[in-house]
Symmetry: C2
Subunit: 337 residues, 2 copies
């Protein structure tokens, strides 16, 4: 199924290793900034923030900032602070997401809201969000501030949009794409784009990196939404079927509903509206998803956006950084296989 | 009791009318910015934000920005956008506060979280917070961005500090002052201070306005915390006794506990830890507060900070703006009488 994606190393499974190797020295500096700036005289703040920040996330977004800077041969140090700012925005979003979704598990660990309560998660999220702006202000680029404040507003807009689409089986694929474009892809795009700003590159390169990040982010979320119907909690660190039980109308559901019989359509509507949320219902849902090819086609859409991401890099010179960024896309779209 | 506060018009009750009259034309512009910038393609955002923003708040913080700018004879228009940014930060904080406190009533109206749910309140708060930074970025002053991003981080820190002090009768007056200095006074201070930045005044004037706002904010919160034991929901738009039932250890409680007998101390500990939260318990609490002079002395502390606020204005020339800012302090400390 992954044959349509261009592999640089077709014999291997694509992995994030080249990206992680590329940025490991820089990431060490970013982690120092993250650790220093999540401190506070109020002990609950580093305690709660540390739980999530040390909790095994891949640091995908700051890695993209660092790798994009490498792609542009940027030799300064401004991107360390800004990559930390990006990760703080992401962490704040996760803390608030877990409150919104009433999640119990993230990356295989109990979520902060389960341990410290919703209130602490909301407020520590606010703290990290404010800290991210403090980091950007210290950097001093109004252009970076504009990019990341706009991305933050778009993320929140996307989350509210998702909330109001929840349990609505009539959500269109276009609206779903709007939602994931905002809640996920906007920060991927901004994380890449700001590297071009600090490297003082022309707008065309800013836009190319924005397009790379945005399409990667969409592919990434599409695969995440497919995985929710494929994984089990033990292997993926996420409760499989969470989206199903929460009535989140993701693309697999949209496709299966559109392609289903009248009886199937009723099942999906009942399921999304919370009247069919048992384990048996989830098994039945997976059967319908298989029969309609809905998960496979969701992954097909992901490969499409993955190709757009790779094509966006066409104008940049080849080398280690470009290869790592391309393989990151291949990894993102291959995760579910 | 208010005799120790210097009244400009001793025959009248101090009011906010002079402040509101001073800034009414400017506030009209600020309201236009607020209305324009709370819009979104996601309808729930303006709906929910509008509920709170149109919900009868005094717009105290943006009024302070506008009045401070008038005090400095600032003749530009930058303060309109920045005052809106300040109000957005405040509104985002209120939305999150209501989730944290599980409030049901604010300013006599049902809170947004009661109508639309906690999730929507968290996310729309995030949206308004991001929008406030977009407004600041459009203004383009890194100095303003620094002041308001620091204030935002301090507010969140103060809220977490308050959360961890909740139900702890051993909270000291010093820690309580830290909490209200952060959660309330930091934004009052920043709201005033940024006026000196846009008016391009020397640091000493920035600091004087910061001190005015900070001390006014502390006085304001002290009186609010006293009112919680004096008002009823119908007159104050806030459920009287909320702090008592939530186990918020405010200064009236700290003083009454410190001055009480062993039996009284046990009562306060039981009350703050949630074992005495009935209406009868609240009546008994008010008796103890009266007997120990705890509410009266909380108001005394408020007058002290009010005097500091007024003294901070000493270096500025007299006139309509200064008189209005002084009367705002007198109003703040006289509200509970």
């Amino acid at each position: 199924m992954s044959a349509t994606v261009h592999h640089l190393r077709p014999s291997d499974q694509p992995s994030l290793d080249p990206l992680m190797a590329l940025v490991s020295a820089d990431m060490h500096r970013v982690n120092e900034v993250i650790l220093a700036r999540m401190q506070s005289d109020v002990p609950l703040i580093p305690e709660l923030a540390g739980h999530l920040i040390a909790g095994g996330g891949k640091r995908m977004r700051p890695m993209l900032t660092l790798a994009s800077a490498r792609l542009l041969d940027y030799s300064g140090a401004r991107h360390h602070k800004l990559a930390a700012a990006v990760e703080f925005i992401h962490t704040a979003t996760l803390l608030h997401d877990d409150v919104v979704d009433m999640s119990g598990l993230r990356r295989g660990k109990r979520t902060a809201n389960m341990i410290w309560g919703n209130s602490a998660s909301v407020l520590v999220g606010d703290f990290l969000f404010s800290r991210s702006f403090e980091l950007m202000v210290e950097d001093g680029s109004l252009r970076v501030l504009r990019i990341l404040s706009q991305a933050s507003a778009i993320i929140a807009e996307g989350e509210v949009n998702q909330l109001t689409a929840q349990r609505r089986i009539d959500t269109s694929e276009a609206r779903y794409l709007d939602i994931i474009g905002a809640k996920t892809a906007a920060l991927f795009a901004a994380a890449c784009r700001i590297a071009a700003v600090v490297a003082e590159r022309p707008t065309a390169e800013e836009e190319a990196l924005d397009a790379y990040g945005r399409n990667l982010g969409i592919a990434f979320q599409l695969v995440d939404d497919a995985i929710d119907y494929a994984s089990d909690g033990a292997t993926m660190g996420k409760d499989a079927g969470d989206d199903f039980r929460d009535g989140k109308v993701t693309l697999p559901v949209i496709l299966a509903h559109a392609r289903g019989s009248a009886i199937d359509k009723t099942f999906w509507q009942d399921a999304m509206e919370g009247r069919r949320a048992s384990d048996d219902d989830l098994v039945h849902a997976k059967t319908l998803l298989d029969r309609t090819g809905a998960v496979a086609d969701t992954l097909g859409r992901a490969r499409h956006y993955g190709r757009l991401a790779i094509d966006a890099l066409a104008g940049f010179p080849g080398g280690q950084a470009k290869a790592a960024l391309i393989e990151a896309v291949e990894f993102a779209v291959a995760r579910a296989y």
